[in-house]
């Protein structure tokens, strides 16, 4: 095979696809006249022979045909794997030369070896990240970093679907993930998460919570990057020579930052880079982590510039909601009576002819909210009796029930047991019958409660 490449080739690395590296190398090589059509056909033929072998393995030798969509995915996997081995060449011209001189099978086998090595190191990184995960109530952070990635490791099969990531990797990182696939995607994603997690670990979870609560009081259920607001606040603190670890800015601080930036892009960038250096020394950040932060400064500059224009800098440099946040109160439903006693109380309740006698039985026997709840749900009481029992509860106790049985509708309601759904409807009717100010108080109190078993 003729090699028409010199070391001073004209392949443009920037124009090559990270996700489809092999195909983009060939495509660009052909466009630059570095690889002839005949050579392209020869590499294709080589690749198809390898695909035939892979299909035989996939079918365990039992079939020589396969669904077209399966074959297409296997081909993607093959090209991706060969691409991984070609990325090892610093110069893409050398990579193109390898396509023309090396058998496709060799490139593929090298790629599989590299992928398996990457898989090992990525698993180690994931294990370390899982052990050291920053404590945040944001649901998506933990579910993606722990459960999502575990899902990937379970599903990933480099031999047939090396290019797949299988999971949605919903949680967004500070740097956007693009033009990358397979294990390379997961490795880079975990690297990013590791940097961000390392940074977050420099702060108290409580301070971060206050800050993110200011971002949105429902931040625990929101899908957003939690690293960025913390980084911005820390940068703001560093710029004003405040205690960085406290993550505490006030409206006056934000006004000072506004004056400091002045609006010119270079000013903002310069100030932020200076603040990054301060963060580095105050928080003892590693060089790699500092580089990770610095390489995203351009994005932060644009955000700040937009906020300065729209007068919303306080949405970029958040002011912690320490005082607005209601104090969290733990509440337990208490222990339950033994089953035999419970059955006898239920039997007694079934004999009751009116709400008063129901109340008497309950008052005599029930000593905890847990038993009270079971009776309300399972004792087949009349609506009047349920209203009478709920009337015995203090507003604080009603708030506890409100917390445990939030208002549901549609499919959520259908998912409940019949008795639970019936009770929930009655409970909501009861709450709606209360004066509005009391209802509001109960709702506010419920928000601050945490039910413990």
């Amino acid at each position: 095979m003729e090699i028409s490449l010199s070391k001073t080739g004209v392949l443009n690395r920037e124009a090559l696809s990270g996700e489809h590296y092999y195909a983009s190398l060939v495509e660009q090589g052909r466009a630059c006249g570095l690889i002839s059509n005949a050579q392209v056909e020869a590499t294709q033929s080589d690749c198809m022979n390898m695909l035939a072998k892979m299909v035989a393995v996939y079918n365990r030798g039992a079939s020589c045909s396969v669904r077209a969509d399966v074959a297409q995915e296997l081909l993607k996997s093959l090209l991706y794997t060969a691409g991984v081995s070609l990325k090892m060449f610093d110069d893409p011209n050398d990579a193109l030369a390898a396509i023309m001189t090396e058998p496709f099978e060799k490139l593929y086998n090298n790629g599989i070896e590299l992928i398996n090595r990457m898989l090992c190191t990525t698993k180690l990184l994931h294990a370390r990240l899982s052990r050291e995960l920053f404590d945040t109530p944001n649901e998506f952070y933990r579910s993606t970093v722990i459960d999502g990635i575990i899902g990937f490791f379970k599903l990933y099969r480099p031999e047939f679907s090396a290019h797949e990531i299988h999971i949605t990797a919903d949680y967004p990182t500070y740097h956007t993930m693009k033009d990358i696939a397979g294990i390379e995607f997961i490795k880079r994603y975990l690297n990013y998460l590791y940097y961000e997690n390392t940074f977050l670990k420099r702060f108290s979870p409580e301070y971060v919570h206050r800050l993110l609560y200011a971002y949105d009081k429902n931040y625990t259920e929101l899908l957003f990057n939690i690293f960025e607001p913390v980084l911005l606040c820390a940068l703001g603190c560093a710029l004003l020579d405040r205690n960085v670890r406290a993550l505490s800015l006030n409206p006056g601080d934000v006004a000072r930052l506004e004056a400091l930036f002045g609006g010119a892009e270079e000013n903002i960038a310069e100030s932020l880079l200076c603040a990054v250096d301060k963060l580095g020394s105050q928080l003892a950040l590693t060089g790699a982590l500092l580089q990770y932060i610095r390489s995203g400064i351009g994005k932060l500059v644009m955000e700040i510039k937009c906020a300065l224009t729209s007068g919303t800098l306080d949405r970029v440099f958040l002011i912690g909601r320490q005082h607005d946040q209601p104090q969290q109160v733990n509440y337990s439903f208490g222990g339950k009576m033994d089953d035999e006693h419970f059955r006898s109380v239920i039997s007694e309740l079934l004999l009751c002819r009116n709400s008063d006698s129901v109340l008497n039985v309950v008052k005599e026997n029930v000593r905890s909210l847990a038993d009270f709840e079971d009776i309300l749900i399972d004792a087949e009481l009349s609506s009047e009796a349920v209203v009478a029992l709920l009337g015995e509860l203090t507003p604080a106790e009603l708030a506890v029930f409100c917390k445990k049985f939030p208002s549901l509708s549609g499919d959520d309601l259908k998912a409940l047991r019949e008795n639970e759904a019936r009770f929930l409807l009655r409970f909501n009717d009861y709450l709606n019958s209360l004066p509005p100010d009391r209802r509001d108080w109960i709702a506010r109190t419920a928000e601050a409660l945490r039910i413990t078993e």
């Binding site: 198809m48 079939s63 045909s65 669904r67 969509d69």
Partner: protein, 160 residues
Amino acid sequence: MSFELIPFLGGQLAERQTITEIIESNDVSSRFGLTLTENQAAALIQTRAESLAENGRIEFGGGIIKRLIYEFCDSPFINAGNYEQTLHELIELFYSYKSQTRDMIGDDELIAYMKKSFDGACQGSVELLADRELDRLTRCLIGDRTFDPDEQPLEDMEEE
């Protein structure tokens, strides 16, 4: 970038090679008075290509035509007059049921089942093979019945 499957696999070189393989199988089938010309072989390859496309499949290597010839050439229900036509129909049936059974049965197993049914319960009827025996096989494989390749076709069992 032209790393597409269909145009590449249907190349002239591959077709020529398959024709040669089919013609070579005349050595075996001629013992039963059955032979194919190059044109007939090319027509079978065309049927194979159409069936693969129709069923959304890709095939590598020589494919199943040669294997169908070897399996069916000793059938008492195939003669020189219906040989080529029967092969066309068997090729179509093979890929159709390969897809319908969701690849749960290997090529050799499926061909062996087709042959056994064709010579047995179907008495050489491709229609019966398609409508009854292969349909039964599909239901066994994707339904709750367990398929046993050695199980007698339905009609055999009824006769007993």
